[in-house]
Assembly symmetry: C2
Homo-oligomer: 336 residues x 2
């Protein structure tokens, strides 16, 4: 069922059955470290290059998520996956092992909630019973592709983000489970003219604000409806911009608002303004927040995954950075 | 409704309302040239670089498709788009003008039918009334990104493909129209160990065969059910491999099988084994085949878009090429 202009509501049973997360050493040492299923102690993840390491993260996250529900790949009806590498090769190459009908997704760091939204539509509409969602990012593959060779040792400003090394996978299903997927608000592409790729929090905040406000209007809700609202990777800089932008529209984000990019690291870790990357909202949501829901500490959760839709070539061509945010609400079954 | 393991059937009304196509000069000189809405007479498409040219193609295709149904962007409920450029920037930057909820898609040259399939699910399930689908590719942006600098003047083997310069956009809707979207068969990622990026037809043929055979099994149909079955961009080399692979499974592709990459160019044009690129199946389907359906010459059409899910980095790392194919069937309303 459709609510307003941008929100889809899932009235049929759509549940988050299980999730798997695999992260790198910096994330393992962060405040949420104990919540992740697998922590690799090196950025190489026992592989010979960083791209293979990122693939190992996704394959491990997928394996764990399936194991938790005692499913094999052939029990899954569709896989929806994406990542930050050119041509989403982490996802494509992970999928070739699995023999599952595959839909490649890309919304940069917002990919995880795009994939959950489309998976939920497919389950709600009885096209599939079980869907597998997976996304990943890796600090060193992202540095190589989007920024500078690590060997160059370029200095970074405090507004910069640190790409999360991690993959989150989840099995969504029509079979009962405590956590229900309730709504998805699909983002529009917003470009406010920011052109500095070392300040993506500021670039993404207006897109996050737009999706949040659309969500509140479409669902006729106030931010206080949720026990927790998280953005994907606005970091310290973007989060405070978001609070102001939402406030300007008459909605107040109180203590129930946090950012996954801030949550995932200790403030004293060398991560500049905080974490980013497609893996960031995925491992925080699937690794930590879902456990908080299972523990009954969070009953209603809104995850606003945020993505900067740039490429290095667009920055070289002096373009500004278009951004997007997709929001998905999760509720405890008893509460929905 | 689900058919078998990999096919989704659209029992609610889902129609292809209108389509727009914009192509470059080589496609304009090809046998289908008169069918395209806009033919640019230079690869630059009146822009200052190739990436802007590709964006101009998509923006033009979108503009034309909306104009044909007398719709404005605000009449569209969701846009699904993708292209071959890193981080699908043609689509992202085209979407920032439009203010439509946006889902980024990537299945390489199979993207167009992934987007049509997901759009059809959304319409069939009443999440949206009108969806806009768009994909593109450009010979020179693809050469720069995937192969060699054009200035290098590298020689190519006869198995190589020539990337189509073109964009196809379509408006899908629940409002009656002659052409109905009937089924989608979602591909699995198949990697048969081919590692030569200058012979993608051979790499993609097994993925196309798998999707075709799944489609026939799921729908309990024979190839003769369709007036025409087209693959996306297997070209001359891959098409004959496909015929053999499908034949081995007991299905015979007769005179009702063609390949968009072969159809779009005259044999004497300097395009090696034929056309490829995300734009190839899009402009042939939306520009030519839809007109053949409107003329009643084709009543039942199956489009099997084929994609090679590689990146240059994966080839440098000595990886083989995973491939995928997504099939969508279109039928005249009177016939379905």
């Amino acid at each position: 069922m459709r609510l307003g202009k941008t929100t889809w509501q899932f009235n049929q049973p759509v549940y988050l059955q299980a999730a798997g997360t695999a992260v790198g050493p910096v994330e393992g040492e962060g405040p949420l470290g104990a919540n992740f299923d697998k922590v690799f102690d090196s950025l190489y993840c026992d592989k010979e290059n960083w791209e293979l390491a990122e693939r190992a993260l996704m394959e491990e996250a997928v394996r764990i998520s399936l194991e938790k529900v005692n499913m094999k790949p052939e029990d899954i009806d569709v896989m929806l996956a994406g990542d930050l590498l050119n041509q989403i090769v982490t996802s494509n190459y992970s999928a070739r092992q699995l023999n599952i009908p595959f839909l490649g997704m890309f919304s940069a760091c917002a990919t995880v909630m795009e994939a959950v939204a489309v998976a939920a539509v497919l389950i709600n509409s009885h096209y599939v019973s079980n869907a597998l969602v997976a996304v990943s990012s890796h600090h060193s593959t992202a540095e190589r592709q989007f920024r500078y060779p690590t060997e160059f040792g370029g200095q970074k400003p405090e507004t910069a983000n640190y790409t999360v090394t991690g993959s989150g996978a989840a099995v969504l299903s029509n079979q009962p489970s405590p956590i229900r997927v309730r709504q998805a608000t699909i983002g529009q592409v917003v470009d406010m003219g920011v052109s500095n790729p070392l300040d993506m929090g500021s670039a993404m905040a207006p897109a996050a604000a737009k999706t949040l406000i659309n969500h509140f209007k479409d669902t006729k809700r106030d931010p206080s409806y949720y026990d927790l609202i998280v953005t994907g990777d606005l970091s310290r800089v973007g989060s405070s911009i978001l609070r102001k932008l939402v406030d300007d529209e008459g909605y107040t984000l109180g203590n129930n608002y946090e950012d996954c990019g801030v949550m995932i690291y200790h403030q004293e870790q060398p991560v500049f303004a905080g974490g980013s990357g497609a893996g960031c909202p995925a491992v925080v949501t699937f690794g930590y927040l879902m456990k908080e829901m299972e523990r009954g500490i969070i009953k209603r959760l809104l995850v606003v995954a945020t993505g900067a839709l740039l490429s290095p070539l667009m920055i070289q061509q002096k373009e500004t950075i278009p951004c997007i945010a997709h929001a998905v609400s999760f509720e405890l079954e008893e509460d929905s």
